[in-house]
């Protein structure tokens, strides 16, 4: 079965399984709303949902952009100044392994309901996969390429731009599959803790109000956003692969 057919089958299966679950689970609508009810919420509350979705997407994109700038900058800096790696690595190991929900709580106390803590959470979610992958990619350059550049007396900039960066690019693209979808997740989680807008805020509100229909509607939107982000990454990756003469699968 091709990948495309697999995805199509999955898309068709979700509503089918949902309908069957509603029919046979015997749970009240309040707990497990049928797809029709969720679609009704999506239609009736579309403007409000759109407004909250745009807030989450905005935070995710801004945080994602900042994470890219910071992670790329640091990866390049580490590559150029090898001594820096020894200094940076312990910091990245510790920061990466602190559960970011605890950091979120600290940020709530420190910064309150502002944009900053949400961006910090999104940056934390996106930063490490990008840093790790780009560093790995920059180090994956074939040593014979570096030797070739040295005998040609290539400048550092030429070496980076023409040899190291092309080697790192596939790794960078692979990082986006995690980081870009992670940015949506990060933004939603950040909104759980300190927000009056966004999908995360809607999830908390729907939970406290026992509005399962709205909760399912937000889940659908968040899932579409995350899967859309993933699909976009894959499409860009495939486009780049084609430009390199590599025929991608699926």
């Amino acid at each position: 079965m091709s990948h495309r057919r697999g995805y199509l089958l999955m898309l068709l299966s979700v509503p089918l399984v949902w309908i069957l679950a509603v029919r046979f689970a015997g749970l009240p609508t309040l707990t497990l709303p049928p797809p029709t009810l969720v679609l009704k919420v999506l239609a009736e509350e579309r403007m409000e949902l759109l407004a909250h979705t745009l807030v989450t997407v905005g935070e995710a994109l801004l945080g994602y952009f900042l994470a890219n700038v910071l992670a790329l900058g640091l990866a390049v800096l580490i590559r150029q100044a090898r001594g820096l790696e020894a200094f940076v690595t312990p910091w990245t190991v510790v920061l990466k392994n602190i559960p970011f929900v605890t950091i979120a709580s600290i940020l709530t106390i420190t910064l309150g309901d502002t944009l900053a803590p949400k961006l910090i959470i999104v940056v934390l979610v996106c930063f490490f996969p990008i840093l790790a992958n780009v560093s790995k990619g920059l180090n994956a350059v074939d040593p014979v390429m570096i030797d070739r550049m040295r005998t040609l007396n290539a400048s550092r900039w030429d070496r980076f731009l023409k040899v190291e960066w092309p080697a790192a690019l596939p790794y960078y693209m692979a990082a986006h599959e995690i980081a870009f979808t992670g940015s949506i997740l990060g933004a939603i989680i950040a909104e759980w803790f300190f927000a009056r807008k966004g999908l995360g805020f809607l999830i908390i509100r729907a939970t406290t109000e026992y509005r399962a229909d709205r909760l399912y509607a937000v889940t659908l939107i968040a899932s579409v956003l995350a899967v859309g982000a993933y699909a976009l990454c894959r499409a860009v990756e495939r486009h780049l692969m084609r430009r390199r003469g590599i025929v991608g699968e699926g």
């Binding site: 070739r148 550049m149 005998t151 040609l152 007396n153 023409k162 092309p166 080697a167 003469g245």
Partner: protein
Amino acid sequence: MVPAIQCRGVTRRFTPERDVLRDVSLEIAEGEFVTLIGASGCGKTTLLRVIAGLDDPTVGSVRVFGGTPAEACARREVGVAFQRPALVPSRTALGNVHLTLEVTGRPDLAAARRVLEEFGLGESVDRFPHQLSGGMQQRVNIACALVHTPRLLVLDEPFGALDELTRETMTEWLAGVWERTRLTSVLVTHSVEEAVLLSDRVVILDRNPGRIAEIVPVGLPRPRTGPSGPVEGFDEAVRSLRSRLRAIVGKGGP
């Protein structure tokens, strides 16, 4: 006349206990093709890297066209080709050859294309490295090393990873390229046939520590192969070089 390459008492020490090369002195004239041959671990690649400016001698000195190897590289007088082709996977054959010209500050797509056509790769200019055979990749690799018209060509087992038949064809092809350019060339190889076909002189290195054991001139007329096979005396030259090599390498054990 000042030699193109001059190695004086070159010693390369990786650890205090081990000299990979010891007291190597060698002069190579401009336009001469010299091959370094010897058992694995005799330091031939190290000597090549020292000449190309990719490594520094611990003791001794190397002069390339009157200056240090680094100065020769700065003047863009050195071209290198290794066993593993130094090609950027995301660039086409043309893009890879052009990379040399971009880096050396002389971007000229037409020149890059011309070199590839001269190398019989006119049909493959838009192919990516993974779309080329091993032999074609190596031809692109050597085109990358030659497109900026260096004065010194350094080759480290360029055909070592190819199958026997391709290797023979490629060696003959390289001999043809050299006939046209007459570049000062230093080759590292394990193949006695390759050494005899291409070289003016063959330097046999001994190991533990790596040092010059013997320099064998190859007095055969050029070109050394043609449609009817190798020139007269070729087989004898191969036999003779092989027996000298065996005598030197055999002394030190396998």
